[in-house]
């Protein structure tokens, strides 16, 4: 059996697909479901561009097999909504946290998690937590500033 039928929730919608066992979650999202907001920068688990939230946990969709997402809740950049996501988007824009925008989907996923885990209270902490997400354009300063500004908010 090289194929398997799976059902998962993506951005709030229940979706089913017949997938090859070797298919990655990233390829499932991008190629089968057309959710190309998730980007592939290395496909070997280093750059973090492909990071999506799986049951709320940031996960490398290039390393995770599609089959392993059976029954899970996956959120991609297209489905990142709500006050924290909105605040982050606004902060990213205001702090110039993106240039080419290729790393941005993974940065947003990671940032949402940082805010949720309350790990965005200082510059040092944010830098450490961002260690798994590479950006070649911004030098990280805008990213750190953006996440810090949202981390400091008490209304979210």
């Amino acid at each position: 059996m090289t194929h398997q039928e799976i059902t998962l929730t993506v951005n709030g919608c229940r979706l089913s697909a017949e997938v090859e066992r070797r298919l990655s979650l990233a390829d499932l999202l991008r190629e089968e479901f057309g959710l190309t907001g998730t980007h592939l920068g290395c496909e070997h688990g280093v750059c973090g561009a492909c990071t999506v939230l799986v049951d709320g946990v940031p996960s490398r969709s290039c390393l995770m097999l599609a089959c392993a997402s059976e029954g899970r809740h996956v959120v991609t950049i297209e489905g990142m909504r709500g006050p924290v996501a909105d605040a982050l988007r606004e902060a990213f824009r205001e702090s110039h946290a993106l240039q080419c925008g290729f790393c941005t989907p993974g940065m947003l996923a990671t940032a949402i998690d940082l805010i949720a885990r309350k790990r965005a209270s200082s510059e040092d902490e944010i830098r450490r937590e961002l260690a798994g997400n590479l950006c070649r354009c911004t030098g990280y300063q805008g990213l750190v500033d953006a996440i810090l500004s949202v981390g400091k908010r008490t209304d979210l």
Binding site: T36, E78, C100, F102, P105, I126, T138, G142
Partner: protein, 795 residues
Amino acid sequence: MNENIGQLETRNDLQVGRPVLRHEDERLLAGTARFVADIRLPDMREVAFVRSPVAFGKLSPVEIPADAGPDSVWTAERLAHRVLPICATLNRPGFHVTEQPILARGKVRHVGELIAAVVASSRAEAEDLAETIVPGIESLPAVSDPEAALDEGAPRLHDAWEDNVYLSSGRTIGPFDEAVARAEVAVTRDFRMARVLPLPMETRGCVAGFDRGSGILTLYLSTQRPHLIRTMLAEQLVGIEESRIRVIAPEIGGAFGGKSNLYPEEVALAAMAMELPFPIRWIEDRYEHFLSASQSRQHVQRLTAYAMRTGELLAIDARFLVDGGAYSMRTSTAVVEAGMAAAVLPGPYRLGAYRFETVTVATNKMGVGPYRGVGRPAAVFAMERMMHETAVAIGMEPHAFRARNMIDASEHPYVSVSGLRYDSGDYKTLLSDAVEAMDVASVRAAQRLVTAGDRRLIGVGFGCYTEQTAHGAEEWHRRGSPFEYGFESARIRIDPSGSVLVTTGIKSQGQGLETTLAQIAADALGLPHEHVHIRHGDTELCPYGLGTIASRSLVMAGGAVEGAATRLAGKIRAIAAANLGCGPEDIRLQDGTATGPFGNLSFAKIARIAYLELNALPPDIEPGLEVSYNYRPPVESGTYSSGVHGARVAVDVDTGEVELLDYVVAEDCGRIVNPMIVDGQIIGGAAQGIGQALYEELRYDETGQPRTVTLADYLIPGAVEVPRIALRHRETLSPFTVFGAKGLGEGGAIAPPAAIANAVSDALRRYGVDVRSIPIRPRDLWTALRDKSFAEMEP
């Protein structure tokens, strides 16, 4: 901190000069931007390449697997009638041209060279099929080191050449021998700079489709120069006219020079698409990127500085040996790096005499191309290391030695010893800004107290540069470039509803040009920038232009947009005046409204008149509201940005580890159009430079096998490695450009290796150890420190 911004003519209604939020962010933050890998055409198939696993070898014709489908395997033989080899030329005597086949034939010359292409319905299946094709290659001894490439008896890469030299050139300028004879101090150093690559987070990629009905070939391509790629494709492909080729560069996930040249993959996809009844797509994976995206900056250098004990720098003698890889890329060629390095070496200094020799050699490695700064990071590293070491030899404070020899602001325009014409700049002020920010006095005070027992030593260092940007036809002609980047284009159309569409020949890759160009157009037209929509990157939609390279787009496309907008504003005034009963000079354009003494008209109304209500349009005014303008700078030698980077480091004497404590960039890019974007460009560039200074290195073994083929082998800095970068801005306007702007895209990346290497050398002065190679590896420092001892007195 724009201290002297008050000197500038500032009108508070201007949008140029404001940190306007970027127009491009919304789609990127929503995840709806479309990069090349996101393009999907009906019935599209996927391509994978069979690449050479060896660096040098004799290649037998590829055997097609018996069970392969008729359209699935593409060899050199099969494409021969469709494509011509890539031969990058340079109009300079003695330059050796390489002939790079699209798919290898006869010989392979670097690991990763294309041998065959396969087509399948998914990428995974294409890769499966590619793996079954094992090319027959008889290995030859390879050359992977640039010095070894020069050895007598070294294997020769190209049969038609007598040696492995692409080009060697040299010159002696000024009274060099007298300077050498007069000098009281001579300092010599050998330096090495490792090969690096631009490494955008988005890899390369191409989608190609051929419409048999119309005969139109469409390529979606992650490229910096869509129009020039189209022009080159028309030359490389047999049987298609340029007018039937459309190149669309969609959203680009960074490029930094790495997506400027024409690649064989692009020609192969175009040619295959012309033969196939369905569109095809190839998206480079990161492993392929390390094998086959252009690489840069590998130097072996020998420098000697001649100076007087008073601190007068007399002369520099420089030799640059650059590793050019196996093939010259089109159009940068393999010698792009060496030529630039030699020209820019004198930097911001008054230098009476200069001798240089550059040699670019062929090796069995991937070809080289531009990477943010081209030649300057290496030249500035060489020059600034020499400024530092010469100052130490004389016993002067390095920054004082620099200031002593810097060109004064009042001397501009200044022609450098290498013939570059600096338009304006205040280098001494930038230096003192950086010195102040680094608090050199306190570093010196701390260093005086250091004892042999201190295992963590601090040091401070600087790197100064001038950066030629937005140079025009004259300069490119002088370099021998077959394409002279002499102009840039803009077309502006105001639609009947009053909204503004600007199309231009450049291509933004993350620089925010959709925002900055909108600011420029908005000011010239008199309406809010939000209403200006910039489109770029489509050869069918946009006027012909040269693309985004060489820090040219803001100045060149900015000039074109300003020129087109000013002309369009004139027409708006004329139409308004005719309808408002006044003279065009009485009309003021603001907020999308033309206001005269007796009334006003909205741009929308004026546009309606121009297109749809011609009754109200005077017959001597041409209908429509659209203007095209090509901007050619009045002075073509370029406009010079400048900067001084300062670094403060701590070096662990026991491990050789370097910690970057503080970093400052004092820079001057003329008129700042968008301060937020300028800061972002500088910080981002500096982060790349920090990567090169401390971490990045493409390693090859002696057989030419690349050793760095994942992001776990080749280390780019993360958020922890890049410190907060402090910025100091000055705005010395260019006398030659529209509103005094200068290019700045590359500046940030130029000086970090120099500044950091000087800081580390400063820290280790008591041990008599100084930095000779980049990246600064802990192992190298540790080895150098091992048999050195601490000098009780400052040397």
